[in-house]
């Protein structure tokens, strides 16, 4: 009896050891090129920006050109993307093969070595035709780790009928714009109506007012970076933001810009800064409100000098994960996403194509003009390697939201400077 028990115990022990050791992973160093001929590829796309038609085209074309391989698109939320990329990209077992990453978030991952070097493929992917601002942002030490996917700066959507009722013209300077926003709000009898819809956490659109006044988030300082939000120019810009929020916006001070459709369709927005593809959401018969969308006009946010204001150069990059073994197949996917057909579908949806020669695909209507005009003076966030951690730690959401709540601009700005300087160095 004792013997049998002993054997059982030993068997149990060995079995458990077997189970636990199976959990360990082998630690091969990542490949930089090559990989199998066939694989199940995973592409991460963020938010609803990429239209369904483009997703279908990518899947079908890739699977037709590579029989035996499959392509799965996994949609990620923009919110919290930096965290998810940090954890997923570092694991060979879990990494997606191709990822979309916000153009302002890309430098952090390129300097960390999370993406494969695409320098050798640049010519094939479009070379000088690629949007150069995006390529530069993803280049370090002469190597390029990500390529542009699409660009899209926000421009102003406005309700033509409300402008007519209030007797307003499309504003041509920043002062006119602020005055129009306040006038629209005063003209409405709804308490939570927005002459200009500006949720408190929306620093990406708030940046335009900061830059228009000559301010900025941070500036290079010797080897490192220093926060510059408390410079007199920045304070002036942030004060404009506060004025606009207090006198023209009806959006909550602690909300973000993720959902403009609900308040717009409820008739509570006179003007709002949004990327072009939001128009598609407004005209959607189920989720949007086609009746109200018909009354929409658009213009590029005017700057103090009468030209377009410096808005945030929005957009995305695509990159290949350094950890994926399927390097060659991943590069084929990137090439497909930069092809004329795919970029054409993006342009139809109001996204600026990643290659300059394809800009004409946008058409020449009011929307295309506003897109091109807004992009003409667009600006990037500071090119510091750690910029994504400033975004990740929500310093700017906190700052803009507290300014919207009526906080002391100078005090808040100098606090934020301290934290930005700390994160960037």
């Amino acid at each position: 009896m004792v013997r049998i028990k002993k054997i059982l115990a030993i068997a149990a022990v060995t079995a458990l050891w077997g189970v636990t050791s199976a959990c360990g992973s082998d630690d091969d160093s990542p490949a930089t090129s090559g990989g199998p001929e066939e694989a199940d590829m995973v592409v991460w796309l963020n938010g609803t920006d990429t239209p369904q038609e483009a997703r279908d085209w990518l899947k079908e074309t890739f699977e037709k050109e590579h029989p035996g391989s499959t392509l799965t698109i996994e949609e990620q939320e923009w919110d919290g993307l930096v965290e998810r990329l940090t954890t997923a990209l570092s694991s060979e077992d879990q990494t997606p093969d191709v990822v979309e990453v916000g153009n302002t978030q890309a430098p952090t991952f390129t300097t960390a070595g999370a993406f494969s070097d695409l320098t050798g493929d640049l010519d094939e992917l479009g070379g000088d035709d690629l949007l150069q601002g995006f390529v530069e942002g993803a280049t370090g030490d002469g190597k390029t780790y990500a390529v542009p996917y699409y660009a899209g700066s926000t421009y102003v959507f406005y309700r033509k009928d409300l402008f007519d009722r209030a007797g307003l013209e499309v504003p041509t300077t920043m002062d006119d714009f602020v005055a129009a926003a306040v006038a629209l709000k005063e003209d409405s009898d709804q308490e939570d109506f927005s002459g200009y819809w500006l949720p408190g956490q929306d620093w990406r659109d708030g940046a335009a007012f900061l830059w228009d006044a000559g301010g900025d988030f941070a500036a290079p300082d010797g080897e490192g970076w220093t926060g510059t939000l408390s410079s007199p120019e920045s304070i002036a810009g942030l004060t404009t933001f506060q004025t606009l929020y207090e006198e023209a916006s009806g959006a909550p001070a602690d909300a973000n810009e993720a959902d403009p459709v609900t308040p717009f369709c409820a008739g509570k927005i006179g003007m709002m800064s949004r990327p072009g593809w939001v128009y598609g959401m407004l005209t959607d018969p189920e989720a949007g409100c086609p009746d109200l969308a018909e009354k929409v006009g658009v213009f590029a946010l005017p700057g103090s000098d009468g030209g377009p204001a410096p808005v945030l150069l929005g957009g995305s990059d695509i990159a290949v994960s350094a950890q994926t073994p399927n390097q060659d197949l991943a590069r084929d996917i990137v090439a497909l996403m930069l092809s004329d057909e795919y970029q054409g579908i993006l342009a139809d949806a109001g996204l600026t194509p990643a290659r300059e020669s394809l800009a004409s695909l946008l058409g020449d209507d009011e929307f295309a003009q506003a897109t091109i005009e807004a992009a003409s003076n667009a600006k990037l966030t500071p090119a510091a390697a750690n910029w994504a951690t400033v975004e990740g730690t929500r310093i700017l959401e906190d700052l803009f939201s507290q300014i919207a709540q009526g906080g002391d601009v100078e005090e808040l700005a100098s606090d934020a400077d301290e934290r930005i300087t700390e994160e960037l160095n």
């Binding site: 004792v2 022990v13 636990t20 965290e83 940090t86 954890t87 300097t111 960390a112 909550p252 959401e397």
Partner: protein
């Protein structure tokens, strides 16, 4: 007999049975803990996450944290939040459990079903409902309060830290009360009726019966539950994290859990995050030590 006992002790079976569990524990707890200690002594950022060799900085991460007054603010906030939540959960939980001993069968089944549903609701799903209740623009609570004549239209519940933590407390307590109720109720059913009756005959009032008869009987259970509550409320994360995203100022509402997450996963500074996590560990040990000691003493008795 006396001769056979040592022989039984010498069989390897008990050790063989304990060993797998112990080995699993050592692996599942020991490895991350060891890794955490190592990380906390390194400069480990995003680049290291992707393969660059880390640099040893000794106690540099700890020095940086201790010198930052923000860490102490967060520690204080975490301890206060933990005590308030654990106390409220225990108070409400034990109260409901006592009430349940007096309920008629059907009422009790109804109450138990309600509690069970609460307990079974996944945290993230529950958080979506809570967010909807307290939404600034379209929240049910604002609509009801405004309907009753107060001016709560567009009131933001999460923007002020005190208001934020009140909502967070409501949610955390709501989620953990069922566990306390079920465990305490189970313990209360074990209190022998004849002892209570005897006390009643001896002239003890309801309060005296509760303090001198019922409470000592269920004390061990209450101690374990309280210990668990303190540990849970100390490392609360999901509720705070979700509410921070729904509104509120991240920096003014961080507890240790979300602060560590902000440092590490969001801020890409895993070394400092690991050092901050060591504070959490020490804090847990300090706060739970008295209860563990009392429990051990009871075991000996």
């Amino acid at each position: 007999m006396a001769r056979r006992q040592p022989a039984v002790r010498r069989t390897p079976l008990p050790i063989g049975l304990v060993l797998p569990a112990a080995a699993l524990l050592a692996l599942a707890l020991g490895y991350p803990l060891g890794r955490q200690v190592v990380l906390s002594l390194q400069e480990f950022g995003l680049a290291q996450q992707f393969g660059r060799p880390p640099e040893w900085v000794g106690l540099g991460n700890y020095r940086e944290l201790v010198g930052d007054s923000y860490l102490w603010t967060v520690v204080g906030r975490t301890v206060a939040f933990c005590f308030v939540n654990a106390a409220l959960t225990m108070g409400i939980g034990v109260g409901i459990a006592l009430l349940m001993t007096r309920m008629s069968r059907w009422v009790r089944i109804a109450v138990q079903s309600g509690l069970l549903l609460t307990w079974a609701t996944p945290v993230v799903a529950a958080m979506i409902v809570w967010q909807f209740l307290f939404d600034t623009d379209y929240g049910v609570v604002n609509a009801v309060l405004t309907g009753l004549g107060w001016d709560y239209d567009g009131h933001s519940w999460l923007i002020e830290p005190m208001s934020f933590f009140t909502i967070a407390t409501m949610i955390v307590v709501w989620m953990s009360v069922p566990f306390v109720v079920f465990t305490t109720y189970a313990a209360l059913t074990q209190v022998p009726d004849d002892v209570v009756e005897a006390a009643e005959i001896d002239g003890a009032g309801a309060w005296q019966r509760f303090v001198h008869v019922v409470l000592p009987t269920v004390r061990p259970v209450l101690l374990v539950v309280l210990l668990l509550q303190i540990i849970w409320d100390l490392r609360v994360f999901t509720q705070i994290y979700t509410l921070q995203k729904a509104g509120g100022i991240t920096r003014d509402t961080n507890l240790l859990g979300t602060y560590i997450y902000t440092l590490g996963i969001k801020g890409g500074d895993f070394g400092t995050a690991a050092a901050a996590a060591m504070f959490m560990l020490v804090l847990t040990v300090i706060l739970t030590a008295p209860y563990v000691r009392v429990m051990l003493r009871q075991e000996e008795d």
